[in-house]
Amino acid sequence: MLKEQLNQLYEEYGYRKFRMSKFEDYDLYAQNKDFLKKGHIITFTDGDGSLKALKPDITLSIMKNNSGDSEKVYYNENVYRETGGTFREILQVGVESVGQIDPYAEAEVIVLAAKSLRTISEDYVLDLSDVSFVGGLLDCMGLTGIRRERVLALLAQKNVPGIQAMAGQGELQRRDADDLVQLMEIYAPLKEGIAQAGALARNNASWEALRQLSVTASILESFGLNGQVRLDFSLVNSMDYYNGVIFQGFLPKIPFPVLSGGRYDNLPRKMGKEVGAIGFALYMGRLEQFFGQERQYDADVLLTYGPDADLVKLAAFAERLRQEGRSVRCERETGQPCPVRCRKKVRYTDGIGPEEVLA
């Protein structure tokens, strides 16, 4: 049901459904390894001897099929990924917008992300960052190689003591450390956050990133999105995949991001296509907890019967109960306890009336 609601939302914005087969040529993943999350791929040899893979990702297939035109698609597909040493099938719902990505196109995808989360819970949070702003700042600090990676890891942890320790050991200038600490402290509604980040911008790249971001923020406002989109520079994951705005969605009680996405122009560029791209994926598997209305019973009624019961009448009686909206499991008495758990247990005898069970 949730899936249908989401599909409808995307279609309202004119997004087309993207369907693909389970299998994709392995070459696609071998050539674009950098764009895949780490982990193995399930491969097999097809009937004609070519090497195929169970798709670990949808975005690559969408980009592969893009002919350099503008395209707005959504999908619900299973992907196969390794997590914790075993492969899992994960249902992913996602949106990709490909073409000349201007602030409008960017804002539209962010709005779809926010509205997807709102479909699940009014009480959602969408955090946004801009990797080109963070990248520009680190460039100005002259951070490269291992030191840059360490600073990024510390940013992701909002690790103030870690930054201060680096400054203490002379690996960071005092002023740079202070700016990084301020950067980590920013956690505010988008426009407010942009104003705070303005104090930290040092070069043109950073200014330009902020200017773009504030245009996007204004468009988001006219889409009716306020407050629940926040600026948080601790989202720095996959800095080589994404090149601009990135975002993650959170829902209460789920301790992981349930949605993640961003601007990824590097992938089409690598494939030789003159387009930009932005998109997100929603991890449906992580929502289970949220819809955690666990079933307490296998069936409403457990109807047991002895060897001498009239089976014709029993069938009619059980059907009658089902018409009343009860789920009924019929079980012949064996002397063993029944392995199912039911709300009510009733022994069928001739002449029993439905009222006795329905009461």
Binding site: D127, K158, P161, Q164, P255
Partner: protein
């Protein structure tokens, strides 16, 4: 309500005292009984004691919003959490230790016994030293004495235990102290509460 995971033991007790002094007291915690969680509704805080190495797991998975964890645990298990504050408690060092006159023969694979295979592995990898990690769960000092390993990687507080066993700290890998950590999603949904607790703690250090 903020859920706080405290590590069992002296560090946890000191950390609780700091939290209590910062306005998050919960008198029930001092009673001797078998209860597992302790609440002070008025202060909006619930405490529970867990094994020190489990604190980061409780916090990462959101069963606790915040927790107190030693940096050794954070470096070893790499939980995906925010590390908001250095509490400057439980200070010690992660060290390589071995016999006082230990000579590291570069022709041999170094055998390292430790409770912290991740930290030890990374340290030696950064120095391109080929090692054989022996994961132990306690009494690490025994390993070089019995010839199970050449050196150990372990926490050194005063160095007394080492000295008694005729071992000495050879190299310091990293300084350790207790950290105030926070679940990433709790940081978003309980932002004000978490920051209030962090700032109160910071003032009371």
């Amino acid at each position: 309500m903020i859920n706080v995971a405290l590590p069992k033991g002296r560090l946890g007790e000191t950390a609780y005292e700091t939290l209590a002094a910062a306005g998050y007291d919960c008198p029930a915690i001092l009673e001797k009984n078998r209860k597992l969680t302790f609440e002070n509704l008025e202060k909006g805080v619930r405490y529970f004691w867990v094994k020190p190495s489990d604190v980061s797991i409780y916090v990462e998975r959101g069963a606790a919003d915040v927790g107190i964890a030693g940096r050794d645990i954070l470096l070893e298990y790499r939980p995906d959490v925010y590390e908001l504050l250095d509490l400057k408690l439980g200070r010690c060092r992660m060290c390589v230790a071995g016999p006082e006159d230990f000579y590291d023969d570069p022709n041999k694979t170094l055998r390292v016994a430790t409770k912290f295979p991740h930290i030890a592995g990374e340290y030696y990898e950064s120095r391109s030293r080929d090692i054989d990690i022996i994961k132990l769960n306690g009494s690490i000092e025994l390993a070089p004495i019995l010839g199970l390993s050449d050196v150990i990687v372990d926490i050194v507080e005063t160095g007394k235990t080492l000295l008694e066993n005729h071992l000495a700290p050879l190299e310091t890998i990293v300084d350790i102290s207790a950290r105030f950590i926070c679940n990433k999603v709790s940081y978003k949904f309980k932002h004000q509460e978490v920051l209030r607790m962090r700032d109160a703690l910071e003032k009371n250090l």
